[in-house]
Amino acid sequence: MNSILVSVLWGVLMMYAGFLTKNKRSMTALAVVGAMAVLIFNALEYMGLSLFELDTRGMLFYNPYSFIFLAVMHAALLIYFLLSGSEIEELSAAPSDHYALIFFVMSGISIIAGMKSLLMLFLGIEIISIPLYVLAGSDKSNLKSNEAALKYFLMGAFSTGLMLMGIAFLYGDSGTFYLEGINMGATEMSPLKAIGGVLILASMAFKVSAVPFHFWTPDVYDGSPTVFTSFMATIVKSAAFFAFLKLFDGAFGKIQGQWQLLLSVIAAFTLVVGNITAVFQQSMKRMLSYSSIAQAGFMVMGIVAMNLMSKQGLILYFAAYSIASLTLFAVLAKLKDHSIEALNGFAKTQPLVAGVMLISLLSLAGIPLTAGFFAKYFILVSVLKSGSMYWLPILAIICAAVSVYYYFRVIQAMYFREAGEGSAATPAFKGSFKVLMIVCAVLILALGIHPDWLMDLL
């Protein structure tokens, strides 16, 4: 609960920081300190030092698993601020507002991490979503950004409606909002529960951009300012998946057999549509949007399996996917031209940044010795372990092979093609940025060589 409190307080503090100082750099510095504070206070609570006790009637409960998840999210937030802070500064006269919104999103994520009741699920999801609508439209003079915000808002509101409807049905069926209460006793699927469950499934599928509820994703990710796309595609997406996981584990765990097939079909379509569409993208930003759908397919597979291994694997997946995407988006945000050709010859002009991007791309493609390999490995093992659905891993690896195609196109551009007319002038990267990129690369490799460092905590 520390992390809810600290996130909210820091969000408020960031709002007032706009009055106290006009210096953008110090606002970023304050936000970085805030991210560290959330990380530290969350760790303190994990070790038993809580700032306050509040009787939530069991609606919020944090176990070690939630704490580790939150720690991964906070670490990703810290990396995000450090990598992309200067882009947030550039975006408007008062970046502190944006930082405040991001901290509010983090408080929503903290609620999600501990939710034991459908009310908390709704609250958490809404607290996450509403600031994001603003962030998506924060590039006010850009029509595409406006469109993204409107689209995101309309679709998001609609999916929230579905979720509320689903919650109502579930309440009508079991007479409780508690996940355990819904799960208890029910080994049969009643019609009310089935309707409620499907409605909630649809809204969660929307939030994690699983097919067929993914149509908003490319447009919103492409239209939003790249810095905020980065935030939405990594941290927020992981949080939505965590909610998905907690909900289906907590409320529908006993009737896994009933929804497993439906969800595996969703996973299959997400994998196929995401990967195939990504192949045809010419813009790296759009390619990464579709790749985020494709990666979501793998993560849905983890929810399909729903065993201890997949729960561990998903945390590793969040970490691997978030770090790799954050570095790629951070570089992308500094480039004016987002087409893949613009990166031609990038390895010659910026060998270090290109090297880190290479490692990130290899990780996303799931090549061994990177974190992405073990993330995918754990998901595959968990699905094979759950038995019966052998077609899903086979489909998944074929899709993983397709994903190599579009990730490696970026590598080919950077390393094997000469800089031509199409390539953009590379910006000067600051020393601190490069150092941080190296840290990210080391993290990816460390998790790829020794994933136990993270897994042992769980």
């Binding site: 290899l362 090549i367 061994p368 010795l369 490995y377 595959l380 093992v381 094979l384 372990k385 891993p393 086979i394 690896i397 074929i398 993983a400 092979a401 190599v404 195609y405 490696f408 080919q412 390393y415 094997f416 093609r417 020794h450 994933p451 136990d452 897994m455 042992d456």
Partner: protein
């Protein structure tokens, strides 16, 4: 994994890795080259020393296991036995020779070139020695990634497409293998160890489709017809040193996988698919030989000839007979030496004349008599003439195949006859006849190149005349593998 390095397998992993890092950070080309040659020679010395420590009492030296991922029940386990020793020896001999053969100033960014080459060596050694399935998979990929970069950066005109095709093919194959590995792992008592994999309780039906998963991975790597389409393009477009590694050593990964990770692990599945593999191998051999005859480009000719030879080796594996499998391991070694030698000659010709087309070449023997003599030796070895190294292996394979069925032996024999046709045809067209215009200024081989060629020639004749020690070294391991198949 931080224990003191006091055994052969660990050294063979660390030496190339350290060499790769050092070579990568060297400023000058000469320094990178020297570091690479030095470390690959050290690896050769280690393999050479290990040949004198084969008895059981030296087991501690030949085996190593570091705890890697206790949570995953996987450990860094390596072993040096007769089979791996042969392949490690091939790797260790080839790399220094290839390095010595590379001319100065040929490749831009030489430090990266040599670093990646050494990394490939590390990956290859790991593949051959791993006794843990996950580690095997890891090195399998690790060997692929540097080769992909080597070919894509320093390759020919159409390199990006050709090497990408190669990469996607092998990556798909290895992913299928990964699914197979995970499946068997879940059926064991919870370990990736090779012994546990051998003992996994698998029904015949499971073995059948697991066989398919592994076989695709290995067949793509070898490559076996009809999975070979990446190969001629990749060989042609890669820089020649990389082509040598690809065709000389890397294809052996697939054949080696068949022996250690397929037929011994899934004996029932292997038996059930025997005739299918026989058909693929024989069809592939004849098909590749016929295409080789029609080739005008020397590089493509060698590429297709290589497919035919690989088909014969696959045939040898699937006889499940001691003599044929031993011959096939032998052949893995000799084919590596011979094909590397052929590529070297081809590269010398291309460097000086700028063409690989046999129509444009001719009469090189008048300009370069020494090169012509070496080429004749290598060509004879490629056809497996008696007294050359390839004869021993091919003869043993054929005697095994003949035991299975004389018809298969006859089919495979056609390809051997055809190999004489295209190999000698190439020698005739390139080295004899009128001196071609492009060959007017052709110079004979230089001392360093002669040294490399002499080493290769000595190897060819030594193994051809005195294969005894090799065969006894290989035989022991092969017996263990073949015995697993006899009970089924």
């Amino acid at each position: 994994m931080y224990a003191a390095v006091d055994n052969f397998p660990a050294l063979l992993i660390w030496l190339p890795l350290v060499g790769a890092l050092l070579a990568f950070f060297m400023r000058s080309e000469a320094a990178s080259k020297n570091v690479s040659v030095f470390f690959s020679l050290l690896a050769l010395a280690v393999v050479g020393t290990s040949l004198f420590y084969v008895e059981n009492k030296h087991q501690a030296l030949n085996q190593v296991s570091y705890v890697w991922l206790p949570g995953l029940e996987s450990s860094f386990s390596f072993i040096l036995d007769g089979l791996t020793r042969t392949l490690c020896l091939l790797t260790a001999i080839s790399f220094p020779l290839i390095f010595l053969f590379i001319p100065v100033g040929k490749y831009k960014q030489p430090n990266a070139f040599y670093g990646l080459m050494m990394l490939t060596q590390c990956g290859l050694m790991g593949v051959f020695m791993a006794t843990d399935a996950l580690v095997f998979y890891l090195f399998w990929e690790l060997a692929l990634i540097p080769v992909y970069f080597l070919s894509s950066i320093w390759g020919g005109e159409k390199r990006i497409r050709a090497t990408f095709k190669f990469f996607i093919y092998t990556f798909v194959g290895s992913l299928f293998m990964l699914i197979g590995i995970i499946y068997i792992y879940l059926k064991t008592s919870g370990s990736f160890n090779l012994v546990n994999f051998y003992n996994a309780a698998l029904t015949n039906q499971e073995q059948g489709w697991l066989f398919a998963l592994f076989f695709i991975a290995f067949a793509i790597k070898m490559p076996l017809f009809p999975f070979h389409t990446w190969q001629p393009d990749a060989y042609e477009q890669s820089p020649t040193p990389v082509t040598m590694v690809l065709s000389g050593i890397m294809v052996k990964m697939g054949l080696f996988g068949l022996l250690r990770w397929l037929i011994a692990m899934l004996p029932a599945g292997a038996k059930a698919h025997q005739s299918m593999v026989f058909i693929l191998a024989v069809v592939g051999m004849i098909y590749a030989s016929l295409i080789a005859i029609r080739q005008d480009n020397i590089k493509r000719l060698i590429a297709y000839s290589s497919i035919a030879h690989i088909g014969l080796m696959a045939l040898g594996v699937f006889t499940f007979k001691q003599v044929a499998v031993t011959g096939m391991v032998m052949q893995m070694f000799t084919h590596g030496i011979n094909v590397i030698a052929l590529w070297m000659v081809a590269d010398l010709i291309e460097r000086q004349t700028g063409t690989m087309s046999m129509k444009e070449l001719g009469g090189l023997a008048k300009k370069a008599p020494n090169l012509a003599i070496f080429m004749l030796v290598f060509a004879f070895a490629n056809i497996a003439l008696p007294l050359t190294n390839a004869f021993v292996g091919e003869f043993m394979i054929f005697s095994g195949v003949y035991d299975v069925s004389a018809w298969w032996a006859a089919g495979a024999g056609i390809s051997i006859i055809l190999s004489a046709v295209y190999t000698l045809n190439m020698v005739k067209n390139v080295f004899y006849g009128e001196v071609a215009t492009v060959a007017q200024g052709f110079v004979d081989i230089r001392p360093m190149q002669s040294f490399v060629f002499v080493v290769l020639t000595v190897l060819i004749f030594f193994v051809g005349v005195y294969p005894g020690p090799f065969l006894s070294m290989i035989g022991e391991t092969v017996t263990l593998i073949v015995n697993k198949l006899t009970g089924i």
